[in-house]
């Protein structure tokens, strides 16, 4: 499906789009799993709407790591054909670190620029994401925005940028000068592979009726030595648990020790509490 040309592009740009990796029936089955999870959370009273942002807060920002209790989601996450693409690019076996599912209904905020490995804390090297386009995505319903070339940079400063809208944030990173943002358009089943050091984010879902569902898994090279505690539940390609040392000082802790205590971060950190 990909060859030398695509590998060169990935190494140079820091990301790669591969079309039609997941099929319609697989996406439909994944959506059904997450709909069930969402319904259970709603029934348990764990999702509390904010009347100022009713549709956005009807869904958690993201549903994190539900693959751990769900074989169907695990199978989707570890689809052999998808993993082989990343292994080809890295020339190494990989371990799955974490999964996230986004509903992103109309009106949902975008994600500001960030580098994934600031939180994940993989050493040596960095993390790698496989982002699956569950719905078609474009600028109207919230495109994935990537800054090619920034994957060659070290992890940089995190800033607190307060403001009236959730377009602002507590952990934003400023786009380096001289780089251009690419707005990625995708069709259902396409994947985007990108590195944990590349600056990326997403735009707001400005559509009236379109969700922008996506599923992203973060991976590490099998040779990873250390990883942040909150991301340390590693599994191999067969879904078996693999252990590595804990990185007690990922970049996020180094930057904001007085503010964040990731050791206490809850497992299901996506549940909205009385906003």
């Amino acid at each position: 499906m990909i060859g030398t040309k695509e590998k060169e592009q990935f190494l140079e740009q820091g990301y790669l789009i591969v079309k039609n990796v997941y099929q319609e029936d697989e996406l439909k089955a994944l959506n059904q799993q997450y709909f069930n999870i969402w319904l259970e959370l709603m029934a348990a009273g764990k999702i509390v709407q904010n009347s100022q942002r009713p549709l956005e807060t009807l869904y958690p920002n993201r549903l994190r790591d539900f693959h751990r209790d769900n074989q169907e989601i695990t199978d989707f996450m570890l689809k052999r054909e998808a993993l082989q693409l990343l292994e080809f690019l890295l020339e190494e076996d990989i371990l799955a670190v974490q999964s996230n599912y986004y509903f992103k209904p109309p009106g949902t905020k975008g994600l500001g620029f960030h580098q994934d490995n600031v939180h994940i804390g993989i050493e040596p090297d960095t993390s790698y994401a496989i982002w699956v386009s569950v719905d078609a995505t474009n600028e109207e319903n919230g495109s994935l925005n990537i800054v090619p070339g920034t994957h060659k940079m070290d992890m940089t400063e995190i800033e607190v940028i307060p403001g009236s809208s959730n377009a602002f944030g507590s952990e934003l990173q400023q786009k380096p000068k001289g780089y251009t943002t690419v707005k990625v358009n995708t069709e259902p089943g396409d994947i985007v592979i990108f590195t944990g050091n590349i600056y990326h984010g997403s735009s707001k879902n400005k559509s009236q009726y379109r969700y922008r569902r996506s599923f992203v898994t973060h991976f590490a090279r099998k040779s990873v030595e250390k990883i942040a505690l909150n991301y340390s539940h590693l599994v191999d390609k067969d879904g078996k648990r693999v252990r590595r040392r804990i990185n007690t000082h990922p970049k996020i802790i180094e930057e904001q020790t007085s503010i964040f205590d990731y050791r206490d971060a809850t497992f299901y950190d996506q549940i909205i509490k009385g906003m």
Binding site: N50, G110, I161, P162, G163, A167, F168, G169, L172, Q174
Partner: protein
């Protein structure tokens, strides 16, 4: 530059204890929460300018007391340069852009632009 700075987007107040401040402003004064993190809480104050609480020590001590809003931050920067206003490069955070400038009194102020609906 008339009309380029369209409104005050938010005023800011730095607070010591976010939970205590949230209870006081949200529960006691009754301002609805627009959105929040552990260190930022934006409150709706009637239909006018929101009030944003931010945890002391997480932003520079001289953080501006308010943000201007524009829907064309590059045009604002060009116009400020034409008017000999001391202005920095635009800071791009993806979902929001900020422009730092200095007023006639030496105050450090911001113009912001972000994705509207």
């Amino acid at each position: 530059m008339q009309g380029l700075l369209e409104r005050i987007d938010s005023t800011f107040l730095q607070v010591e204890d976010m939970e205590r401040a949230c209870q006081w402003y949200h529960d006691t004064l009754g301002f609805p929460i627009l959105w929040r993190t552990d260190i930022i809480i934006a409150l709706k104050v009637g239909d006018k300018t929101p009030l944003t609480l931010v945890k002391k020590g997480t932003v520079p001590a001289n953080h501006p007391p308010f943000h201007f809003f524009t829907s064309n931050i590059e045009k604002v920067r060009d116009a400020m340069i034409e008017n000999n206003i001391q202005v920095e490069e635009i800071r791009d955070y993806g979902t929001v852009q900020l422009l730092d400038f200095i007023d006639s009194e030496g105050n450090h102020l911001h113009v912001c632009q972000y994705e509207m609906g």
